[in-house]
Symmetry: C2
């Protein structure tokens, strides 16, 4: 099997690549686990440090909208594509054209590259709960329509519609996973509106200050990177028939208030860690975050075996185990 991960230098792409190398197999065209021969990570930047030293893994540098390049990467040997490349929420809001180019036209380019293959590859597309918006019930479920109030959310909702339609036409075997906010992201703050949700855990654990632009009462649905990768593999390995009238699933998230996250930080690292959080309200970030559902039930995904993290403490602990050593080394 040849697997392509777009945007694969991002933290989720890297984690997935390493997990695939360790796992060694994935459900292939035969419908059973098949050995992974090749993983190509496509991104605009080179990973530093290297993702892994493994002869099966290579990195390709290119723009996701470059169709000639994509046709070389997503070639006839490709059996699976994980399409993660995206411009994140606040960045897509600040630069509309960039968001449209990468999130909409980039996704179209990936779908067309898949369609050109003799056999429809499996495609896992990362959508987001940011595709919800407007007046929402307290608990969002599978029957709630997406009326996004950000360009990023609109572009992700459009991507889901495209993934379903290309799948219905048998151009690709797509699966779109609506991810909760991923917490704790390793690395540095980024331009996602939800960037703070990782910062307020990650920075204090390395004795750095973090800015929290939203109120302690703000409710978020979150998922650890560890559990996100589990969800990607589950989404990939499900039979196509599991999806029925839509290729989209809401990945279950843990519903927490920001104050719950801070309390977990305190339990893990003490009161002095919490002192590193600076509360600096930002109305635009608060608006974007508050437009997303803070809690949902994802009955279809639960029925298919997807699971949320068990507790906020487990999410903090996973970061400490998986990422804190490297995070400390890079600080």
């Amino acid at each position: 099997m040849k697997i392509v991960i777009t945007g694969g230098v991002g933290f989720l792409g890297q984690r997935l690549a390493r997990t695939l190398l360790q796992r060694g197999t994935l459900i292939g065209p035969s419908g059973t686990e098949e050995p992974i021969d090749t993983i190509v990570v496509l991104d605009t930047v080179t990973p530093e440090p290297a993702i892994a030293t493994d002869s099966r893994l290579s990195v390709a540098i290119g723009d996701i909208t470059d169709r000639a390049m994509l046709a070389q990467i997503i070639d006839d040997r490709t059996t699976s594509v994980f399409h993660f490349a995206a411009v994140v929420s606040a960045a897509a809001e600040a630069d509309f054209d960039l968001g449209m180019r990468i999130n909409l036209h980039g996704t179209l380019a990936v779908l067309e590259a898949c369609r050109a293959l003799p056999h429809p590859p499996r495609l896992v597309f990362t959508s987001s709960i940011a595709s919800f918006g407007g007046p929402l019930p307290a608990v969002v479920d599978d029957t709630v329509p997406q009326t996004p109030q950000t360009s990023y959310g609109a572009q992700k909702a459009i991507g889901e519609l495209l993934v379903h339609d290309y799948s219905r036409k048998n151009f690709v075997d797509g699966r779109a996973v609506r991810l909760p906010t991923i917490v704790v992201r390793p690395g540095k703050p980024n331009r996602a509106a939800s960037s703070f949700a990782s910062s307020i855990i990650r920075e204090p654990l390395t004795s750095l200050d973090a800015i929290c632009p939203v109120s302690p009462e703000t409710r978020l649905a979150i998922l650890s990177p560890r559990q996100a990768v589990v969800a990607f593999l589950q989404a990939h390995n499900l039979p196509a028939a599991a999806f029925e009238h839509t290729r989209s699933l809401i990945v279950p998230g843990l519903s927490v208030q920001v104050s719950d996250m801070v309390a977990a930080l305190q339990r893990a690292a003490g009161a002095q860690a919490v002192q590193h959080i600076r509360w600096q309200p930002d109305a635009e970030i608060q608006r974007i975050i508050s437009s997303w559902p803070g809690a949902f039930t994802s009955q279809r995904a639960l029925n298919l075996g997807f699971r949320a993290d068990a507790h906020m403490d487990a999410i903090v602990q996973a970061f400490i185990e998986d990422d804190l050593p490297a995070q400390r080394a890079n600080t």
Copy 2:
């Protein structure tokens, strides 16, 4: 005011153009009725016969994805755009690339042309209840998500997301109307999956045979061309604030079974007219039509003053009054 109607040589575009010429005014940038100076009908073909003889009206020929041409038509003087240009349902299903080119990239081109103007014009975008699909409640309402099962439906749902997001960004002042099946269309059968719904009324009234590819029990939500034009003007003239978290509205339709339509034909034209209907089941057409909601309540649109036709007999009568003379002349 300068008004552009894309796909304006179609029957709805022509009817709208004539109505606008008669009306003479439309809500303009001032928020009050303003005189209409110019109407440009853009399409790929010349209307035969001419839509009207009026110095305010002109026809432009071009492809909706031709951005340089669009920038000339949708120029700084343009205050309103009615974007009707589309590849219809069965045609978009048969030719995926054509549907994507016109329905998705064409809509993007219109939105970008509007965005380039110094003041955001009003834009009325025709979506469709074909954007619904999959398992649906017996009565679809404003809270039901769009999970289209046709490429046309997916492209229309995407267009709605784009219209909302471009409006939210103040690039355009958009309004998307999800139209029921329009009955009775004048002219000839086309490649819409719902083409039969007009044929079974229209053809018998001109002593021609019509094919009905679906069962008499099939339920459809329908709207007369007369009432559709009323809906376009209402959608255009509403203040932007009326739309809130979505620019999309379900235009109320009359829910009928095909057998109700045939009964109305018989009441209007006698039993011999009904003999012109040939029942030839087509599984693919039945699949597409059955994937659309046959009945819905559109509380948001009703609250804003939109209305369905009162009765099937009124729909047949509107066709007899408005279109049958020309239909007879062209048969």
